[in-house]
Amino acid sequence: MAGSDTPLLTCAQVSRHFGSLAAVDGVSLQVMPGEVLGIGGPNGAGKTTFFDVVTGITAPSGGRIRFDGHDITTWGADRICHAGVARTFQLNAAFDHLTVQENVQVAAQFGRTARRFPGLWLSDTTKTAVQEALEFVGLGAKRQMIARDLPVLDRKLLMIAGAMATNPRMIFLDEPVGGLNTDEIDHIQALVRKMQARGITIVLIEHVMRFLLSLSSRVIIMHHGQVIFEGRPDQVAEDQTVVETYLGKGAAGRLKSHFSEADHV
């Protein structure tokens, strides 16, 4: 997609082993600025682990990762966050006992730049960033609620708000619509588009194919820790291995008809 031709993120032969299991097994890929990259693949294919490695949650067992000209392979998660990479989590992580607002304040205060000393009060930048992020996802009215009590959708939105509050250049979304209904999926989809419009580079994992394929400019399918497919969204359902290992006949059929309809329109 648009932007420049130097990739924002480059992964070279990245792997992550757990004992004898290679959860991520020599993944190489590049993400261009402004791109939306979709990742799919069977359960346990290593998608989340790949995210974990890139964002510094776990250390890679091998390979190199470069972001924006820096080698971030050995950086910790906090440093990577400060560098401009944010993410959301599959299992809806939150600071359960803090309010919605405090959840976002943490991200805004600590996620933008490295601070040796947290400071005695919230900076003005933080306050505006919190305000903006909450408005961005539409949680403004629930700012005083305790995160633990939020329903699924709001927890997902809260994570997105937190990610946005760190002022990221690149964002990783892990199953942002799992467990949501059609309407809610559309809501998230609109948010992703808004992020894209702000020039944020996006990588997302999703099993809900309609969502994944309609947003992504490029799709990767992983299996057993490796990339088994890379291409345009409309090619996914055509790939024999992908259908066999991941989509199944039914879903593949529905997708094909979806894309052919789209072609006709």
């Binding site: 949650i57 989590f89 599959q90 992580a93």
Partner: protein, 294 residues
């Protein structure tokens, strides 16, 4: 040689006592997330139960030991009914600290109740084995052998119970996820009750063994309880075999250090070892890092 035997005898005896105290504590901790601070007081209770039954009622000593186990179990049941049951329901995420402090309270009361009833002067524990046998020049008292044997038997029994039986599985499941255990049909409350009763019984027996060496005083459980806490954690929480191994291993080292460097250094060196172990292995010697995926 002589010295080696002295060290081994002390190490094994202390190890057996530590281990027995440890499994009682670890059982409850591992399965309920409850640090039972009254465990030491239950030890004392067991010791005094034997005294009362054997001396006052004049029953034979082996029966008195059963009485100690019974008294411990009963105390466990009462502890469950009066304190733990309601805290599990109401304390939520505060459970661990709340129950710890509540049992501190119980422990203070129980210890001082023993003081009021039996007085503060140390009493002779009627359970005892006299005599000794010789290995070369050195002498090993039979009492130490009995202590080691009894605690090994009790530990083996408990280990089998936990690892091999349905009850054991229920205990482990309850420990890891209460709601899930309920859904699987585990009678969680009964499991808790069983665990506390079991641990109380073990504490009772342990108290008898401990007091056969230290004699009876209301505070006799304090030291074993402290050691048990250390062993329990350093082994990795809830890991029973690990705790037993740690108990024996550390007791041996302690005895060795006491001889080699002087008695003054025994416990401090043991603690420094514990510190080093924890820094090196943050989840204890045999513990597994808890994985928290997000």
């Amino acid at each position: 040689m002589d010295i080696l035997i002295a060290i081994i005898t002390t190490g094994l005896t202390n190890g057996a006592l530590y281990a027995l105290a440890t499994i009682g504590l670890s059982l409850v901790w591992g399965s309920m997330g409850m640090l039972n601070m009254a465990h030491g007081a239950l030890l004392a209770l067991g010791g005094y139960a034997v005294f009362s039954v054997a001396t006052t009622l004049g029953l034979p000593v082996w029966l008195a030991v059963l009485a100690a186990a019974g008294a411990g179990a009963l105390a466990g049941v009462i502890l469950y009914i009066c304190v733990v049951r309601s805290l599990i329901r109401t304390a939520g995420k505060n459970f661990e600290t709340s129950v710890m402090i509540a049992t501190v309270g119980i422990s203070i009361s129980l210890q001082n109740a023993l003081l009021q009833v039996y007085g503060g002067q140390p009493l002779k524990q009627p359970f005892g084995v006299s005599g000794a046998f010789r290995i070369g020049d050195s002498v090993v008292p039979w009492l130490n052998v009995v202590i080691i044997l009894v605690s090994v038997v009790v530990m083996l029994g408990l280990a089998l119970l936990i690892s091999r039986t349905r009850m054991g599985r229920a205990i482990r499941a309850t420990a890891q996820n209460r709601e899930a255990a309920l859904l699987m049909g585990v009678a969680v409350e009964r499991t808790y009750l069983q665990v506390l009763a079991l641990s109380g019984a073990v504490a009772g027996i342990c108290g008898v063994l401990v007091s056969s060496v230290t004699q009876l005083s209301p505070t006799l459980g304090a030291d074993p309880m402290l050691k048990a806490f250390i062993m329990c954690v350093v082994a990795g929480l809830g890991n029973l075999p690990g705790a037993v191994a740690a108990a024996f291993g550390l007791a041996m080292i302690e005895a060795g250090v006491q001889f080699g460097m002087g008695a003054r250094w025994g416990f401090p060196v043991l603690l420094m070892l514990v510190i080093a172990i924890l820094i090196w292995r943050p989840n204890g010697l045999f513990g597994r890092a808890q994985i928290r995926r997000m």
